[in-house]
Every structure is written in C-alpha cells, then in structure tokens.
C-alpha cells in the first residue's frame, strides 16, 4: 500500500513539474465578459497569425524560386564541369555563393520584417485583451 502511494506521489510531482502543465492549468472558467474578450482576441489574432503565415509562405516561395534562378545562372555559366575555376564554373563556385548571399542578406531581412509586423500586431492584440479584461467585473466567488 505504501509502495503504491509512493508511486502516485512521484507521478504527481513529475506531472506538476512539467513546464506548461502546471502553468496553464485553468484555475476557474472565464466569466461571460472574459469569454467575450477572449473571442475578440482570437478573432483579431487569427487574422494576424494568418498574415504571418502568408509572409512565411512567401519567404519559402522565394527560397524555392531562387533555386530556379540559381540553377539558370548555373547553366548559363556552363553547367557541370569537372575542372572548376573561373572559366569552368562548377556548382560550388557559382551557386553556393549566390545562395549564401541570398540567405544572409535577403532572408534575414525578410524574416525580420515579417517578425516585426507579427510582433507589433500581436502585442496590440494582447494589449487590447488586457484592456478588455480589465473592464470586466470581478468574478463572484
């Protein structure tokens, strides 16, 4: 009997120590007013997350589309060769620097812009949620 209690205790401790579970466990159901605030937040945030998703899709599209450009540049430069060098460019000498340049300059900036827009919109949504919740009457205990 003692063994069983010990295992139950260990299990409970492990369960509660997992981050996210103890933190996010609801303490009480939202009131009608709070629920309305959350619904409005969801509606706003849904749109902004969808915009962020579109921006990330566009970045991936650019990445895949650039592969096409890089391949074209590569074949324009003479395609695969075994010798390399400036006169006989190989995959590594033509495409890799192109992609690297693209990655470090265009991608980082594109992601930064997308992140910035998403961050600013979500912060506004969160602030709106806080204001809305602040106007709700305190729940009766």
């Amino acid at each position: 009997m003692k063994k069983v209690s010990f295992f139950v205790l260990v299990f409970l401790l492990a369960f509660l120590s997992v981050p996210g579970i103890s933190q996010y466990t609801p303490t009480r159901p939202p009131t009608q007013c709070e629920d309305a605030c959350l619904r409005e937040f969801s509606r706003q945030a849904d749109g902004h997350v969808a915009s962020y998703r579109s921006a990330l899709t566009s970045i991936a599209y650019q990445a895949f589309g650039t592969a096409v450009t890089a391949w074209v540049s590569f074949f324009d430069a003479g395609g695969f060769t075994t010798t390399g060098g400036a006169a006989n460019p190989t995959w590594g000498t033509v495409v890799t620097p192109l992609l690297a340049l693209f990655q470090n300059n265009v991608y980082q900036d594109a992601i930064f812009q997308a992140d910035l827009s998403y961050y600013s919109n979500i912060q506004n949504d969160m602030n709106g949620l806080n204001l809305c919740l602040g106007q709700c009457p305190a729940p009766s205990l």
Binding site: F41, L56, A63, Q108, Y119, I122
Partner: protein, 162 residues
Amino acid sequence: MAITNHSQLNMKSHFAIVLGIFVLTACSGVDENSAIENQKTIQDVTNDVTVSELNELQENHAVMLARNEFNLANVDFDMIKEGRKNVKSNKELILLYEKAGMTNAAKYVQNNQKRIDILSSLVSKNPNIKNLSQVELMRMSSRMTNLDSNFVRKLIKIRSVF
C-alpha cells in the same frame, strides 16, 4: 469537280484533325509525366523530416515574439536600417541587433538561420524543384508553416490566467 474538291478538302481537314489530336495526345502525355514527377517532388519536400522541425522552430519563435523575449518594442529600427548595409556575417548582424536594443539577439539570428538552412537543404536535396510551376511552388511553400487557429489557442494559454 466540285465534289472532288470538297472531298479533298474534307480529307485535308480530317488529316489536320488527326494530326492535332496526335500532337495534343503526345503533349498531354509529356505533361502528365512531368505532373506526376512534380507531384512526387512536392510530396518528397513536404514529407521531409526537416519540415516538421521547421514548423516547430517557427512556432517556438512566434511564441518567443509574442512573449516579447526579443524586446522588439524598444529596438532602434533606423540604426538597423542604416547599419545593415555594412553587415557581412551573422556575427556582425547579432552585434548590430544588440546595439539597436534587441535582447537575445544571438538566439534570434540563430533561429532565423536555422529556418533558412532548412529551406536551403530542401532545395539542395530536391533539384527537381526547378521544374515546378509557380502555382506548385506556392502550394508547396504554404506547407512550410503550420501556424493556424490552434496556434492562437496556444497564445491564449500563454496569456490566460483562467
């Protein structure tokens, strides 16, 4: 005479129609093959194990942004815009972001670089991507992120006290 001319015309028309059908069939055969091949490429890319890694990474990054872990509200964007022109490496980019007021700048750049690396590796592993049409590319790209309504529910959990 008129009948002969008419029948000759009919024969020519028939020949043209048969030729047209042949050409169309031949072309559609080629298109069908490439369509199947393109479909396979899209499947290969979207089923790649790194895509779920990319999705997870993007979701975590979006949560970090929502939690204001990079302090973007207080970042000097003019400084970044001006300083960006002279940046040639991620190390320099981190220093610039830090100077402009970003917190966890190294983590921020590292997250983005990982996202970029995964996309690049997908391109390298699947050279047939170059044959995809714009519509196919867009369809495939839209599967590179899974941020949706479920993600908003997670955001509510982060904020929620209920």
